[in-house]
Amino acid sequence: MTMPQSETMAIQVSADVVLVRQAVRQFAVELGFGLVDQTKIVTAASELARNTLNYGGGGTATLEMLQENGRRGLRLTFEDQGPGIPDLELALKDGYTTGGGLGMGLSGAKRLANEFAIESVVGKGTRVTIVRWK
Amino acid sequence: MMSTSKIPDILQTYEADLLTEWHQSLATTHAQKGLIKEAELKEECREFLKLLRLAVQQGNLTNLQAAEWRELRELLTSISRSRSHKGFTPSETAIFVFSFKQPLFDRLRQQLHDPTELSQEIWTATTLLDQLGLLAVEAYQKAREDVIRRQQEELMELSTPVVKLWEGILALPIIGTLDSARTQVVMESLLQKIVETGSEVAIIDITGVPTVDTLTAQHLLKTVTAARLMGADCIISGIRPQIAQTIVYLGIDLTDVITKATLADAFLMALKRVGAAITRNQAK
């Protein structure tokens, strides 16, 4: 079965995070990622999906297969209409020692991806995009 | 379409002379290098000439991908490969073909007196031989690339074997510089072997690693941490004095890592860790 080139999923409940993980895994396998790379991108997706749910109040995850300059990649975009992140710099610091929460997810996902971008407006919402190349 | 070329006839009629002239011109340059025996060179020329004649006699002098050119292409590929292995340069390999132009053009000038016809035939001959020359160079390149790739694979295998030293003890002697890509492979392979063999101790020996930069040290540390997370311990052995200095100078923190100067020391420690010991037999 060939995967669609892109897919958008809702993240509204805890079980949706698992579904996102599984979808990301399928896309990664289809793209021919090795096991370690698969694990990294799925773990990053898990972190970001959780943030979208717990901090963003729910939102969407969009998975896209990329083909650029002869290499293949997977782009994941997580969007919510939540409260937004007031201090991005602080949030991106390795916050795991303080007990996790938002900090861990963002900085962790950033380390596991090749490309990372985040936009957030207080009161409007947040969009995080990560890309992992084969 | 195109008037029949006179080249096939000329190759047929003057084959012996062409061979001699061509071989002579090659022999002088090739003899200097001493990389190929004269008899072998003559044989290559003779074979080339024969297959060239057979191919042009089919009438197609422009499309070298056609079936009638296959044998000549194969011969040229084989000659180029052999040249690359013998140590000839790509130019020297191409000259094998290009040097045939002179004898051929001489014959064409002798036999053809119509200027238009002569220039047409010279053009045909030159484009034909150019294509063959390029083919030779490409085959040479490919042969070189194949050698490099094979050597890289062998080196990769040779330099990152995971060895079982004892029940529960693995050793990974690393030779050469660790770049990012290689370290990933090495790391994964070691961790996989740890799971497969159920070994609780892995000795990473870096005696054969000439230099360690921050990135390499980080990779090593990551491997140690990952193994630890899985339930195995790593001992790093073979740290040379220069590397020890570099590590301190770079500010890399090795306090959580077990290190031993030699593989032997590391092995003894590992044995203790798995509950074994080596004893010497009481003699007579």
Partner: protein, 138 residues
């Protein structure tokens, strides 16, 4: 509600995680384990994660919590069977799982628990505690 089964084996509790857990399931496991330890006076907990293909920061925290809580209840926890890809990813994530003892498989994990049971507090030789540079005592 679905829960992860907890088996009792003598003085120890054995948990095998075989599903991709969502957060609530993981938190339920944490509660269930804490209750079971108290009920059974278990001396040790063995968590088998050999089927887990993903361990993210949340699961990592849960494992850490379980270890801490068990210790408070006088039981040791050992996590066994971490897959190499998971270990590599955790390192990349920066999760160190300090305080969580690990072993390669159930057999070794059990041995660890037994040893901890019969040993004094200082002679542990688990990976995550970090060995000193002297030869490790067995």
């Amino acid at each position: 509600m679905e829960r992860i089964p907890i088996l009792q084996m003598g003085d120890f509790l054995l948990v095998t995680i075989q599903v991709d857990m969502h957060d609530r399931l993981a938190m339920t496991l944490q509660d269930d384990l804490t209750n079971r330890i108290t009920q059974t006076h278990a001396q040790g907990v063995l968590i088998d994660i050999s089927a887990l293909e993903i361990v993210d920061s949340f699961i990592g925290r849960i494992l850490g919590n379980i270890a801490k809580m068990s210790r408070v209840l006088d039981a040791e926890t050992v996590v066994v069977g971490m897959q190499p890809a998971v270990a590599i990813t955790l390192v990349e994530l920066g999760l160190s799982l300090t305080g969580v003892r690990t072993a390669l498989n159930v057999e070794k994990g059990m041995a660890l628990l037994q040893a901890a049971l019969h040993a004094t507090a200082t002679s542990s030789f688990t990976a995550t505690e970090g060995l000193s540079n002297d030869d490790a005592a067995v």
